[in-house]
């Protein structure tokens, strides 16, 4: 069970309160109609899927119902930090008060 820190509620809560929402930082293209099939397919379907550190979105579905960013290791599942949706995640090791 992951213990995830919601930056809006400012608390650690159990994973079951949250819904995973995939890779963070994917920007919807401004004019989809002008994109090539390749660029549109890349936007829709292709993800980094790294083995290691991953910046991802979580939704606090049973809490404040807001999206936020989490930096998580996809091998150890350790969580290295979380931040609000419009903030930048700090590099690993520079976040204090966050349990991993």
């Amino acid at each position: 069970m992951l213990q995830i820190h919601c930056p809006y509620c400012e608390e650690h809560r159990e994973e079951e309160e949250f819904a995973y929402s995939g890779e963070a930082g994917i920007v919807r293209p401004e004019s989809p109609a002008e994109l090539s099939d390749e660029a549109w397919g890349d936007y829709l379907f292709f993800r980094k899927n790294p083995r290691g550190l991953h910046q991802e979105l979580w939704l606090h579905a049973s809490g404040c119902r807001r999206y936020f960013k989490v930096l998580r290791d996809t091998v150890t599942y350790a969580i290295h930090g979380s931040c609000k949706i419009d903030e930048q995640l700090a590099p690993v090791g520079q976040i204090s008060g966050i349990r991993s």
């Binding site: 397919g41 829709l44 991953h54 091998v75």
Partner: protein
């Protein structure tokens, strides 16, 4: 002299207390060059090697495996084999595979313990039943044995099931595929490994591929933890780690790796002689020949390579199992484990060529690759040998994520796998 397994070989070895069986395959040294290198020694990779050697006459083949043969998802699944998929493309691929399963033990001279005990896919709502009727009709048009059953018919096949209408997810009926069933997962890997080894394929274990060598858009070999190896063709069948291997050649895949969990109970007396699956509550169960209940859960929502998932997923699955089978409520669970599955956006595999000449990928089987092992190996071997997709594999090209011709099997196939 290569030993053939039979009742006579068993009897003659009994006289020497089974102490003189030959090793099942060689442990060859890595050669400096091969015609084809297969990355990944699971069921699909070993099947690919076998059919490349058997059907296409290639002999200079290596299967390179970072751990041991069949130690990944091949040994972590719940061994269900069926072909009742909704869409023509997938139904034909899985049915082709099911037909290979039916003759596999004889072909490989290895008992894969393939047992056509039938698979039930339960429906718990009117919409489930409409989807089941549609899928069964589609199956029949594709020549697949498939029937719609009522609650009473389900109860007659599985007397231990809870058919009360007053439970949270009452059983309103099911689809039934009598030719579907289970197989011994290790035996499939070992059978293909032994048969491929006899045809001269080098099975290289404990060797990790660390890089792909590409020059002028053409594959030239791989880097391994035991040094570089040249190859004319490289075929990657690395399941949950496919994205990692693809990145070595600068390619991206539309795949996300998720943990998928399963568990087995202590052995109990025979109680369940078919496979029961429920997509709506995401639980499935069968009973192995040893007597353990083999139970599969859903994937974890998050991505992961850790070969383990969260307990909440197991708990959710078991609550559904206990509602369907109240008699199992006090059965103790022996072991649970996880594997990394490569999930495609449309829950269908990617089989085919890549922009790099001589590099091929077979991945994205997600939660349901085991049943496809023979068919996947067969069509992928054909794809690699002829440098073009096998007709059954052609719809599963990676190009479908650009053209939009997806084969949407999410939910549609009664998929819990």
């Amino acid at each position: 002299m290569k030993e053939r397994y039979s009742i006579f070989s068993l009897a003659s070895h009994a006289r020497s207390y089974h102490e003189n069986w030959q090793r099942v395959w060689r442990s060859p040294e890595l050669k400096p060059a091969y015609d084809v290198i297969i990355v990944g020694g699971g069921g699909h990779g070993l099947a690919t090697a076998y059919y490349l050697a058997k059907v296409h006459g290639l002999r200079n083949i290596a299967v390179i495996e970072k751990g041991y043969l069949g130690g990944g998802n091949t040994a972590r699944n719940t061994t269900i084999v069926r072909s009742n998929y909704l869409w023509d493309e997938s139904a034909q691929l899985y049915e082709f595979s099911l037909k290979l399963w039916e003759g596999l033990s004889q072909e490989l001279n290895f008992n894969t313990m393939f047992s056509q005990r039938g698979v039930l896919n339960l429906g718990h709502s009117l919409q489930d039943m409409r989807d089941i009727e549609r899928r069964v009709n589609a199956n029949r048009l594709n020549g697949i044995d498939s029937e719609v059953l009522t609650t009473r018919e389900v109860k007659s096949i599985v007397p231990v099931i809870n058919d009360s209408p007053n439970i949270r997810y009452p059983i309103l009926g099911a689809s039934w595929q009598p030719r579907a069933g289970t197989a011994r997962h290790d035996a499939v890997a070992w059978g293909y490994a032994r048969a491929a080894d006899r045809l001269g394929v080098d099975l290289i274990q404990q060797t990790e591929v660390t890089g792909l060598r590409v020059a002028n858009g053409q594959i030239t070999g791989v880097d391994t933890s035991r040094g570089p190896v040249a190859a004319k063709k490289v075929a990657c069948v690395a399941a949950g780690n496919s994205g990692v291997v693809a990145a070595m050649a600068g390619l991206r895949l539309p795949i996300e790796s998720h943990p998928l969990q399963a568990l087995v109970s202590e052995p109990i007396k025979p109680v369940l002689d078919c496979v029961v699956m429920s997509n709506a509550v995401h639980a499935y169960v069968s009973q192995s020949d040893k007597g353990d209940l083999v139970i599969g859960a859903g994937i974890d929502g998050y991505t992961g390579y850790g070969q383990r998932g969260s307990f909440s997923v197991v708990e959710h699955c078991l609550s559904a199992i206990v509602e369907m089978f109240p008699a199992f409520s006090r059965v103790r669970m022996n072991r649970s484990w996880g594997g990394n599955v490569d999930i495609c956006p449309d829950a269908c595999p990617i089989i085919g060529t890549t922009p790099v000449k001589g590099l091929y990928f077979n991945c994205g089987w997600g939660t349901g690759g085991f049943k496809a092992t023979p068919g996947s190996g067969y069509v992928f071997a054909d794809t690699v040998a002829h440098d073009r997709p096998h007709p059954l594999a052609a719809p599963f090209s990676i190009q479908r994520f650009y053209t939009g011709a997806l084969i949407d099997e999410h939910g549609a196939a009664g998929v819990a796998h």
